[in-house]
């Protein structure tokens, strides 16, 4: 039988330095983290929201090409999971990872520049929205083939184990990716070989126009962990602290016990699958119901209730986030394109050395 763990697995979070400030909060989630971290998380969520809205705007103005897939609505899942990582850990994800890069610390200007296809972009304009990359922050890329990065995540875990490190790998993907072969092969080898990988599924209810139930025999995605004797856990993906807590626990299991886990974050994307998607496969009511549980509003309210934030500060945080997003657009607009003469660069590493 599957050995699913409850969401209340013991937590070994990072050393809390200023716990004092909120130790008396009634909100157990809030009480768990120091104020500066909580505020930083809120700021990141706001940054993602505003960055994405501005990116959408630029897309409709045709300043951005290709497909872009936004994290709007999923900020708690994104920020909660990434916040659980140590700086030395590795993160790898799908094509829907603007937010992950931002949460990991990538300069918003470099992300936006990438969307604009500029040389100053995270991938020098070669990758675009689907293929962000930031070696410095150990964000090892966005990938466009559904499920295609899961085997790579296993390989990162393998390398860590080989080299004897105590880093862990977080691999994020959508629930639609759990029906593809690569998911199965990757989770099997991760458990079999004891690789330090945390599999984070952002279950945003849809894979393009397909609801979970249209695609998956088991709709509680976390239960798929049973086929690998791996802990599987479902967490409210609109609750940034619940996500963080679950991911921290899973990362510790990965790091210390070499036990990989599957963490399902139940969330929602407010927008279409990509900016190109205008289809009607879900009701207005459904979207509205989810928006009522907006992760940013909710978190803001919790922080205010815990007296860690006031309305003014909240407004300031939001304003600053939007300013950063605007500055990113401004930067990207004025950044130079790659030189067409460099078309053939970066195909082979050896050639460049020789």
């Amino acid at each position: 039988m599957s050995k699913e763990r409850s969401g209340r697995a013991s937590i070994q979070s990072r050393p809390a330095t200023d716990v004092v400030e909120n130790e008396r909060s009634d909100d157990p989630g809030v009480a768990r983290y120091p104020r500066d971290q909580l505020i930083a998380m809120l700021a990141q969520m706001q940054l993602i929201r505003h960055f994405e809205e501005r990116a959408a705007e630029q897309y409709t103005k045709a300043r951005i090409g290709g497909y872009i897939h936004l994290n709007v609505g999923e900020e708690a899942t994104v920020v909660g999971s990434v916040a659980a990582l140590r700086p030395t850990d590795y993160l790898i994800g799908s094509y829907r990872t603007h937010g992950h890069a931002l949460a990991r610390g990538t300069d918003p200007r470099a992300v936006m520049a990438e969307l604009f296809g500029r040389e100053a972009g995270t991938s020098k304009g070669r990758g675009g929205s689907m293929h962000l990359f930031d070696k410095k922050h150990r964000f090892l890329g966005g990938y466009g083939i559904v499920g295609g990065h899961l085997p790579i995540a296993a390989g990162l875990g393998l390398a860590i184990d080989y080299l004897g490190g105590d880093e862990a790998v977080m691999c994020v993907f959508g629930e639609g990716a759990t029906n593809i072969g690569a998911f199965h092969e990757s989770l099997n080898v991760a458990k079999l070989w004891g690789l330090p990988v945390v599999w984070v599924c952002a279950n945003n209810q849809y894979a393009m126009g397909h609801s979970v139930a249209m695609d998956s025999a088991v709709t509680e995605i976390h239960r798929k962990a049973c086929a690998y004797d791996m802990p599987g856990e479902r967490v409210d993906g609109m609750d940034v602290l619940a996500v963080r807590q679950a991911c921290e626990a899973a990362l510790e299991r990965a790091r210390r016990e070499r036990l990989p886990s599957l963490v399902e974050c139940v969330t929602y994307r407010y927008r279409g699958h990509s900016m190109a998607d205008q289809r009607k496969y879900r009701t207005e009511d459904e979207v509205r119901a989810w928006r009522e549980r907006d992760p940013i509003n909710w978190f803001e309210r919790r922080l205010i209730a815990a007296k860690l934030l006031d309305e003014n500060e909240a407004k300031r945080i939001e304003r600053e986030a939007d300013e950063k997003a605007a500055a990113a657009v401004d930067f990207a607009e004025h950044a130079p394109d790659p030189d067409p003469a460099d078309l053939g660069k970066y195909v082979y590493a050896s050639d460049e050395e020789m």
Binding site: G125, H131, P338, P340
Partner: protein
């Protein structure tokens, strides 16, 4: 003759064939409720219901395998892969099963199945979403690979594919879906293995398939204003390949340039050039040249992408190089 888009022609054909034969059914990702990622299957779920327009999980290998199994029992599945870029996840099923089963089971089974999928580049879809691997499938005995370039051919060749008894890779192209053209009202079937002379000329043969055909025609138009009469051969089908039409054209023009949207090295154009030099050797006055994608993974940046994709200028340059050669 009514004018319609390539997309409408495909949609019409699917509707007609599904009405005609209830063994024909569709399966693929987002083809039903979502109406198809590129709207080719629009409205078909409404008309035919979920049994005949089956939305599938993201599981390309299972999709292809399901089509094979269904075809073995006499159904006529038409698969849609959202784009050709995802077909690599199913290529084992297609190449190792679909293409080989009839032969390896001594002719005891038929596999009437069609895999529709758009290839092509442009639109800044970057490295993983801008490919054209049709040449790999065209290398495989047991497969048929077709790539119509006009709405009329799209309708007529999809009919041939659906009514045929073999696995067919039916290549569409993101940049052709909105192309308009006349489509006869009466039913038409184009047999596979017949290239089409899309424009006659005597000075040089431009060989193309799929989206490269309109580009070839555009180039031919430009060349005409300079007094160069280019003949355009639209291959339409890669396997079987109509070597005769190709050779006949080059026997007349004595020169050829191949346009291709894949990477030329070991690409589709290599076979075309090899075929022409083999069968029209004595007629050729210049080497067959190839114009295709730059040999890099497709970059996202607009300026780089434009530099990578074949355009009229690059084709014209190749034609000029070809024409420079004396008889």
């Amino acid at each position: 003759m009514p004018v319609m888009t390539y997309r409408e022609a495909l949609n019409t054909c699917l509707r007609e064939e599904m009405r005609r034969d209830d063994k024909v059914f569709l399966l693929g990702e987002d083809i039903g409720k979502f109406d198809g990622a590129y709207a080719v299957t629009q409205g078909l779920l409404r008309e035919f219901g979920p049994k005949r327009v089956r939305d599938t999980p993201i599981a390309e290998e299972a999709i292809a395998g399901c089509a094979i199994g269904a075809a073995m029992l006499g159904l006529r599945p038409v698969v849609e892969f959202m784009t050709i870029n995802f077909i690599l996840l199913a290529i084992d099923q297609i190449v190792n099963n679909a293409a080989k089963m009839r032969y390896m089971f001594g002719g005891e089974v038929k596999l009437p199945m069609v895999i529709r999928t758009p290839a092509g580049s442009g639109g800044q879809l970057s490295a993983q979403h801008s490919q054209s691997m049709e040449g790999w499938f065209a290398n495989v005995p047991g497969m048929k690979v077709v790539a119509p370039s006009t709405p009329a051919d799209a309708r007529a060749m999809l009919k041939t594919a659906i009514r045929g008894d073999d696995p067919v890779l039916f290549l569409e192209n993101l940049h052709l879906y909105n192309a308009r053209g006349e489509v006869p009202t009466e039913e038409q079937l184009v047999p596979f293995g017949q290239a089409r002379v899309a424009r006659e000329g005597r000075d040089v043969t431009l060989v193309a398939h799929s989206r490269m055909t309109p580009l070839a025609l555009q180039v031919a138009e430009k060349l005409a204003s300079d007094g160069v009469q280019a003949e355009v051969v639209d291959l339409r089908s890669l396997r079987p390949l109509d070597r005769e039409t190709l050779v006949r054209s080059v026997e007349k023009t004595t020169r050829a340039v191949v346009l291709e949207e894949d990477w030329p090295t070991f690409g589709v154009g290599a076979e075309i050039a090899a075929t022409i030099q083999e069968h029209a050797f004595d007629w050729l006055d210049a080497p067959v040249l190839r114009v295709g994608l730059a040999e890099v993974p497709m970059p996202y940046s607009k300026v780089l992408e434009q530099a990578a994709i074949p355009d009229a200028d690059r084709v014209i340059k190749a034609v000029r190089r070809t024409l420079e050669r004396r008889r």
